[in-house]
């Protein structure tokens, strides 16, 4: 019984070694999965030393050594497979053999066998597709138990004289079997716990990162302003539990949340040397509160002790910073450091993206303005001139035309949305066409052939207008008489075609700026629906110009309108 206690004591020493091991980078090798040669070699060295240590720790007893050598060999086999187990067993076995004694040979052999037993269990579990099970303490316990019993058997078979062997085994069998099995199980449980902690930290970190990203990116996409910065700073502080969070632009603090908020105010200019460094040198600045203390430039009794400042950049240009602060009483966690840096990178990307989006939408806005502006002067003055002449002859028609004109300009001015229905677009060009028909009289005939199913089709605003304008201004207006314009919309094998045809055939591709409106229409449609859609022009000189726009056929439109009609 005493022997068992002493062996367990030694096991405790081994466990301490194992604990240190589990904290070392070697743990990375025990993450499960296939091991590479270098890792195997490393594990071989570690477990061999471990095993040999078990021998040295052993107690000399009756000309033999009661020991915990088995743990290293069995674990090597379990973790690294039969070859590693065999190698470690053989190494520790040879070492034991070299120490001599009447069990030297049998112990040498048995240790090798023990390594092999671990390896066989490894093989067995792998074959049953349960490789994770090798890290289970009970498996380690059972494997070592069996291995130790085997060892005892081998000693009985091989050690001579037999009577001594029997006497020895009687004394050491139970303590050794118990101590080794318990030791191996404890070792494994430690390894397993360590792995769990790592996984948990990783998962925690990821989930925290995702939460923060999820909650803040939406806010940031509204723009980088003091308002959005304030919301973001709150969320980051809440999620990371750091002392304080500050967000600045290039010159002033946009938001500050947390400790020290009594004197660090939003609206203050950026004064701390760390922030300035980050801003002007475009690099991450870290004062860990240990080697370098954060010194508040504002008040002496500021509770902040450490700071991480990460620049936010768009296109290589620093537009601001994010700072995380911890109080003097708290350590700045490494995890928060990498977290802050990751967050800043993420925000930089988001800022770049929103700047891009902003410019894109500005472009579309100005393009729309351009299309609107294109129509105005000629059309307006000619329309007014026509109406003035009509007033003399037919006040009723003149009133009608004035209504059409005001309708046209009203819709033109207030069309701020991007998408309208085909019906709305047709109504809009309808007013335009009424006025042009009055102006050109017998020289302009307009024919509309619209599939009523398509009236609910969603199209970009101002899609038809430039086409109609071109057909008239650059088409039939150049004909001496009998100008005709057709507006058609129909479905065709999975597409929707909207087309405008005139019988002038005046289209000349390179002439500016008459193609501008059409190019914008084409670009917008390709942007929205893809490259296979958009605008094509076919022109037979002096005969016809046919401008077609291809849209994807949205089944829902058909269904919806089917239900409505």
């Amino acid at each position: 019984m005493l022997l068992m206690f002493e062996l367990l004591q030694q096991t405790a020493v081994l466990i301490v070694v194992a604990y240190l091991f589990s904290k070392s980078p070697a743990m990375d090798y025990l993450s499960g999965g296939k091991l590479q040669k270098r890792q195997l070699l490393f594990l071989y060295v570690v477990f061999s030393l471990f095993s040999i240590l078990g021998t040295y720790e052993g107690l000399p007893i009756q000309g033999a050594i009661a020991n915990t050598r088995a743990i290293g060999a069995v674990l090597a086999g379990l973790i690294g497979g039969p070859i590693l187990g065999l190698s470690v067993g053989l190494t520790a076995g040879l070492h034991r053999f070299s120490l001599g004694g009447f069990t030297a040979f049998s112990c040498g052999i048995s240790t090798t066998v023990e390594g092999l037993v671990g390896g066989l269990v490894y093989l067995y579990l792998n074959r049953r597709k349960q490789p994770e099970q090798v890290f289970h303490p009970l498996i380690a316990f059972a494997t070592t138990l069996v291995a130790e019993m085997l060892q005892m058997t081998i000693i009985l078979i091989m050690a001579r004289p037999f009577t001594d062997a029997v006497a020895l085994v009687k004394v050491i069998a139970l303590p050794m079997i118990c101590a080794n099995s318990v030791g191996a199980a404890l070792f494994m449980s430690m390894v397993r716990d360590q792995r769990r902690v790592r996984d948990k930290v990783g998962a925690l970190f990821s989930s925290k990162a995702f939460t923060v990203a999820d909650r803040t990116l939406g806010i940031l996409s509204r723009g980088f302003s003091s308002e959005t910065a304030r919301e973001m700073a709150e969320i980051i502080r809440e999620e990371t539990a750091v002392g304080a969070v500050a967000i600045t632009d290039r010159s002033e603090i946009l938001a500050f949340s947390g400790i020290g908020a009594d004197h660090h105010h939003a609206g203050n200019s950026v004064v701390s040397k760390w922030s300035k460094q980050a801003l002007f040198e475009n690099r991450v600045v870290f004062a860990d509160g240990f080697n370098e203390n954060f010194k508040c430039p504002l008040v002496d009794n500021c509770p902040i002790g450490s700071v991480l400042v990460v620049p936010l950049q768009v296109d290589q240009e620093v537009v601001g910073t994010i700072s995380l602060y911890e109080p003097k009483t708290k350590l700045f966690l490494n995890i928060n450091r990498s977290f802050g840096e990751g967050l800043a990178t993420l925000y930089s990307h988001q800022l770049l993206r929103s700047r891009f989006e902003e410019q894109k939408s500005l472009l579309v806005q100005s393009e729309l303005k351009l299309i609107q502006a294109q129509v105005n002067p000629h059309f307006l003055f000619n329309a007014l001139n026509t109406i003035m002449a009509v007033v003399r002859k037919d006040a009723g028609q003149a009133r009608e035309l004035l209504l059409q004109l005001s309708t046209f300009f009203r819709t033109n001015l207030k069309r701020s949305q991007d998408i309208v229905t085909l019906e709305e677009e047709l109504a809009h060009i309808g007013s335009y066409l009424e006025i042009e028909k009055a102006r050109f009289g017998e020289r302009l005939f307009v024919y509309q052939q619209i599939d009523p199913v398509l009236l609910n089709l969603q199209i970009p605003v101002f899609t038809l207008q430039p086409l109609i304008e071109n057909a008239i201004k650059h088409g039939v207006a150049h004909l001496l008489d009998h100008g005709k314009v057709w507006v058609r919309a129909y479905c065709e094998t999975g597409f929707v075609i909207i087309e405008v045809e005139d019988n002038a055939g005046n289209y000349r591709p390179p002439i500016e700026p008459q193609g501008l409106g059409m190019r914008l229409v084409d670009r917008r449609i390709k942007n929205i629906y893809g490259q296979e859609f958009g605008l094509t022009v076919a022109c037979v000189p002096h005969e016809k110009t046919l401008v077609q726009i291809k849209f994807p056929l949205d089944k829902e439109i058909l269904d919806d309108s089917g239900a409505n009609h």
């Binding site: 003055f381 000619n382 003035m388």
Partner: protein, 236 residues
């Protein structure tokens, strides 16, 4: 009374302008034309002192009408336009005046006074026609534009003036005189113009006459009268 012609492709615009112009009581309106070819004929027959000329018209615009007119037929010109942000300045320099549609009667009166003064003083029309960038040729029911550089030669016969290019013979309303004045074409005989860039060879006969072979293989007569001019122009 000032003899005036109104040229505008839009019926309402014509009627409105006619109404306003008549109301001034200063003009005798010779008629209204709906397009440039019409106008060209009318100017030749009626010889107006003043034209109210719309710029944007089908097939041929107002500037092109002026380029197609012989200098001695050139009337005073008042441009009438709805809107033309680029050209207004140059109108002011080159023409008598311009009116913006819709035309205000007060503004028209100013123009009337200006015109009256000029005609009373006997000032020549201020508009200097530019060189022809293309020659309009009637072609079935439309107008074909021929670049002077692609012309081989031009001839007149009893039916009218024909422009000859690689693609064939095309009838034009323009006179040989206008073509000679406004393009690089050279007169080689009373009824012929030749494109100097297209001359392959000139053969001189003993009697002072000559013959031109064009690169396209056409043979044109050269008269004594124009042979001398031709030599000067070609620096022979």
């Amino acid at each position: 009374m000032i003899r005036a012609l109104i040229i505008d492709d839009e019926q309402h615009a014509r009627e409105e302008l006619e109404h306003l112009v008549r109301a001034t009581g200063v003009f005798e309106i010779l008629g209204s034309c709906t397009n440039v070819i019409d106008a060209l004929r009318k100017i030749r027959t009626e010889k107006p002192e003043l034209i109210f000329l719309d710029i944007e018209m089908p097939a041929l615009n107002g500037f092109e009408l002026l380029a197609m007119l012989e200098d001695e037929l050139m009337p005073h010109v008042v441009f009438v336009t709805a809107y033309n942000e680029y050209a207004l300045k140059s109108f002011e320099e080159k023409t008598l005046d311009y009116l913006l549609k819709p035309v205000s009667p007060q503004r028209l009166l100013k123009t009337v006074n200006k015109v009256r003064d000029m005609i009373r003083r006997g000032d020549p029309p201020r508009y200097q026609a530019e060189s022809l960038s293309h020659i309009p040729c009637q072609f079935a029911n439309r107008v074909k534009f021929i670049s002077p550089a692609t012309v081989d030669y031009v001839y007149s016969d009893v039916a009218g003036i024909y422009v000859v290019t690689h693609d064939g013979h095309f009838f034009t309303e323009l006179t040989l005189r206008v073509l000679e004045e406004r393009t690089a074409l050279l007169r080689c005989q009373r009824q012929y113009l030749v494109n100097p860039e297209r001359i392959d060879e000139i053969i001189f006969f003993a009697n002072g006459l000559g013959e031109i072979k064009t690169r396209a293989g056409n043979t044109l007569p050269v008269s004594r009268r124009y042979l001398r001019q031709l030599k000067v122009s070609l620096q022979l």
